[in-house]
Point group: C2
Chain length 407, copies 2
Amino acid sequence: MSVADLTTSPVTSTYTKTSSRLHSSQPFTLVNPQVPAPVAVQTEEAKNKSECFGVFCQTYDLKAEEETKSWKKLINVAVSGAAGMISNHLLFKLASGEVFGPNQPVALKLLGSERSFQALEGVAMELEDSLYPLLREVSIGINPYEVFEDAEWALLIGAKPRGPGMERAGLLDINGQIFAEQGKALNAVASLVMSSALICLKNAPNIPAKNFHALTRLDENRAKCQLALKAGVFYDKVSNMTIWGNHSTTQVPDFLNARINGSPVKEVIKDHKWLEEEFTEKVQKRGGVLIQKWGRSSAASTAVSIADAMKSLVTPTPEGDWFSTGVYTNGNPYGIAQDIVFSMPCRSKGDGDYELVKDITFDEYLRKRIAKSEAELLAEKRCVAHLTGEGVAFCDLPEDTMLPGEM
Amino acid sequence: MSVADLTTSPVTSTYTKTSSRLHSSQPFTLVNPQVPAPVAVQTEEAKNKSECFGVFCQTYDLKAEEETKSWKKLINVAVSGAAGMISNHLLFKLASGEVFGPNQPVALKLLGSERSFQALEGVAMELEDSLYPLLREVSIGINPYEVFEDAEWALLIGAKPRGPGMERAGLLDINGQIFAEQGKALNAVASLVMSSALICLKNAPNIPAKNFHALTRLDENRAKCQLALKAGVFYDKVSNMTIWGNHSTTQVPDFLNARINGSPVKEVIKDHKWLEEEFTEKVQKRGGVLIQKWGRSSAASTAVSIADAMKSLVTPTPEGDWFSTGVYTNGNPYGIAQDIVFSMPCRSKGDGDYELVKDITFDEYLRKRIAKSEAELLAEKRCVAHLTGEGVAFCDLPEDTMLPGEM
């Protein structure tokens, strides 16, 4: 099914959901252009159905057996871009129990494309061969309406990479169409790119907007590591790290509120010039440096950060700490514009929900940088208005702010 | 450092070790020829030293802190082929605590090649960005004598892939030289290929031969999954699965001793013709089918199986069950030839050691197939005699028994 097919599919109420939580997905980087997808040959049947795969078609009664009777109810996790490199790491983490814990059986619903369908079967085969006791169901399909049915988490990892000479606005539009359709299909979803999460959210009116997240956890993890390196401490000593704003070069790793060994970063790292002029760039260029070194995008650490982001919502946040995630801004206490998706500091009780952190300090420098990312996201919002149901799009993106290595 | 350099390196007693346990490595498949390695530019210094990387150069005192003072002593794990695809999955499993548990801090010592050095830095950067609390040291290098120093586990994942038109004997020789040198360097090591493990073992006389393992766990996992599929049960119902012999097409997945829901397989699966004529081929061809589907070798499930194999040695084997691993045959109770490495059924108390399972049934069919794999390994042994210090090699390998997909 092509993107064109997707955008003309009817939205039926059959798939309307209200209980779904929505989650992280990935942006323009996720389809690695250096790795050609195998060409798929498939049946008409496979095109239209999401079907159980191999050994995962078995039926059994978890309640009837000693080892499994104390397990929680099966949780359904849908993953798009399931044949890609990030998913190839992430799916195995979800299956192993690393994210949801040792008593939570998992069903994986894998969304691929016609082109990647055989690779999707390969992924399902590797999941079979891994014999994970907690992985109880795996189904694969290329129709988002089928795959997202009953999903309690939807991880939108798949999107188009930027082609040679493609404008950023064009990419926003192409991927926006995918996310609009996936939003309609699931009526609950998310994205690494703030605008994509916004598009999803607007197309899924039956799901609370609060349930949509756009991933900035990899940026947060990278920021913690760079502060640790500069301060000469191990990374477990860095806490309260916020990434504000967009997942782009306007992102704001917040060294005003972050802490090292419990003290404000600026008290520990005396080189404020480095903090103001080099730190943010170090975080932003990390992905680009990795591509140079490793020859491909950072799949493993991206998957780790997605797992971290999910764990942050299903386990209580440690006392006094917080994490970053891109969420809907309505009602935020920071004065950030309403009705966009923006990365902000959050805490969770471990129930899948979160609250914004109130105890945040701002100075003029931090305000100014946040305002720049806010302005960019408002511009992106105007640029995708035709996809959010808010009229005619008007694209005046001032500059190319895509992160290095995310093409 | 090239293979030629390696084979002329002097063996010094400085690196002689006796406490090392040795472990699984991978064979001819591990370097995926479809993924070109980035070209490395590096300093003379990097060539000769194994050095700590980035944030992992920090010093700290685990005993001084509340959260870490109950942790065990740091364990050193050396991994060759560390820039490859299997390692890219395995290293993150080792770092997460999935293999050694939540109280075991880990040091990773990564061995790459001159050609892969930049990719190795990329891997170390992704490990930094993952912020794993248990991962306390990471060092990278291309000199096995440096990297293997003080290693308690050595995972030899790296080897040459088979080039176009290369004879199997030629490949055994080339990889044999690598494993001979790595055996000398560590004086304790292992390999997925039985002959390579044998070569290592012979070149590391200070390490007990019992400590060397060659991986057949992926074959075991695949065999369990295929039996489950055929029997219409979930894979957790299949136990007591042995892979006998070589990691080649002469391997013997043992359906005589395996059990489904506690009953002999042959009582549950009545289609004995399938067991005798199709089952083994299903297991053997799984890797080849995966390459067709997925376009590359099975990195994720191979890494899972290596982690499984390690966990089987550091956690007690469940009552009545066992696992397969390729180990030194001296003293085996099955009548298999002495002085080779052969996959056999084992149990462990979880102390890193193992014992061979005594309670095994044989019939003529099983005996005959085991004898064929045994004959092959004896032929391979003659073929690498110049590398094990046992005289002049004589290669009369009867046929090409390399598994499909392992080139």
